[in-house]
């Protein structure tokens, strides 16, 4: 019941579109990178097909940074987490709900946008499938890292920029295996991406919850 109420509000706040919704900018940013890449390196189809998948991955990772600023900081400032704590709702529960909503708000649209992006880069069909599966396996992990970092930096000035810098090293394992799946034809790399992703998903609510409690006590 509590989880449902939280999730409903979190999704309404984060999902792009709508009056209080999040913005479509991360998605447009993602597509813009895919569009600019051929201009920057030249239009040879073999080269684009070979490197394009990696570019989509990097673009996805950077697009995941953009919504972090508004993920936790606003609610921390307005006292939502304080009020939840008074009602006995654990910070971990609030953060788990926030993580699910964050993933729902950016990943499905990102997967959808990966299709036109792949077309812009001229990726062959089998690589597109691998790319989509990899993104599907990797984005929950990105959402989890993003949430933990957003919570850690929420009470800092200039936290958003710091969040971006902190996300990059943590996201490297996901990137290595997720983008690495494009080079090898077997599914092991995707399974590894999913494994890392799940690990982050399991840890993030606890890390983020602790960060919120710590932010109160300064």
């Amino acid at each position: 019941m509590v989880m449902l109420a939280l999730l409903k509000r979190d999704i309404a706040t984060l999902l792009p579109g709508g009056r209080r919704g999040g913005s479509l900018l991360p998605l447009l940013f993602f597509l813009a990178v895919a569009m600019l890449y051929p201009f920057a390196v030249g239009p040879e189809p073999q080269m684009l097909a070979r490197t394009g998948g990696g570019v989509v991955w990097v673009a996805a990772l950077l697009a995941a940074i953009l919504p972090l600023e508004r993920l936790v900081a606003a609610d921390l400032e307005s006292g939502v987490f304080d009020q939840l704590a008074l009602r006995g709702v654990a910070e971990e529960v609030a953060m788990a709900s926030r993580m699910i909503a964050h993933w729902l708000a950016f990943a499905p649209l990102l997967l959808l946008a990966a299709l036109p992006a792949s077309a812009l880069l001229g990726l062959p069909g089998d690589k597109v499938t691998t790319l989509l599966l990899g993104l599907l396996a990797g984005t929950p992990g990105l959402a989890a890292i993003g949430l933990a970092i957003a919570a850690l930096t929420a009470s800092l000035r200039g936290g958003a920029a710091l969040a971006g810098l902190m996300l990059i090293p943590l996201a490297v394992p996901i990137l290595i295996f997720g983008a690495g799946a494009l080079a090898r034809p077997d599914a092991t790399a995707i399974a590894l991406t999913a494994a890392i992703s799940l690990l982050f998903v399991a840890m993030a609510p606890f890390a983020a919850g602790a960060a919120i409690r710590a932010a109160r006590d300064n």
């Binding site: 409903k8 009056r19 304080d82 009020q83 008074l86 300064n218």
Partner: protein, 207 residues
């Protein structure tokens, strides 16, 4: 003898390097009230946060002669907190913003409508929260507090921005809550009608 609503021992508070207050014990009977006073920055809001369980009351120095004194706060019943923020989603209409807390507190739409009516907000249901004036936000905060149906209230400057009708209304709400056995702790610079309230000046409790 009245039942005790709040018992707190050995509360210490520091913000960064500043030591705000210490060795504070507080006992409030059910139906009682405390009026917190003291100059700005003395730690009134911090004390309310400690009492709400949002801030640790323990002295953060491990090497005092007597060892660490463990601060403790115990309430009998549920507590509600209203500080300077109304804690409602800024861009959503007031009614939707309140509905989130209504759902979370397991209250009904009727409770919410009654609370809005009581606070004089019935006509503002579809106005986004960010367009509300200071006084209206305060009223909206009280509507949230009423919906919560907590036993005891912690109020930080509850009269800020309210007009004279609003002040009278808040004093009435406080009196009703006390009559039904709630304890009220108010930090306020403004004069507020709190019959038989303990007066607590944090200057009397140095670290």
């Amino acid at each position: 003898m009245q039942a005790s609503a709040l018992t707190a021992w050995e509360l210490f508070c520091r913000r960064g390097d500043r030591l705000l207050f210490g060795s504070l014990d507080l006992w409030v009977e059910s139906g009682g009230a405390v009026h917190l006073t003291g100059p700005n920055g003395i730690g009134k809001s911090s004390l309310l946060q400690i009492l709400a369980g949002l801030r640790t009351p323990t002295r953060a120095e491990a090497l005092t002669a007597a060892g660490i004194k463990q601060g403790r706060v115990e309430w009998l019943g549920r507590i509600g907190l209203l500080d300077g923020r109304c804690t409602l989603d800024e861009v959503t209409p007031l009614e939707t913003a309140l509905a989130f807390w209504t759902r979370l507190d397991g209250a009904s739409r009727i409770d919410q409508a009654a609370a809005m009516e009581r606070m004089g907000l019935a006509a503002l249901g579809d106005v986004p929260v960010r367009y509300l004036s200071t006084g209206q936000r305060k009223r909206a905060g009280f509507a949230r507090l009423l919906i919560q149906k907590a036993d005891h209230w912690l109020l930080d400057e509850p009269l800020n921005g309210l007009d004279s009708d609003g002040v009278a209304l808040v004093e009435e709400l406080i009196a009703e809550r006390r009559a039904s056995g709630g304890a009220i702790i108010v930090a306020s610079h403004q004069a507020i009608a709190l019959p038989d309230a303990q007066l607590l000046d944090l200057r009397d409790h140095p670290w």
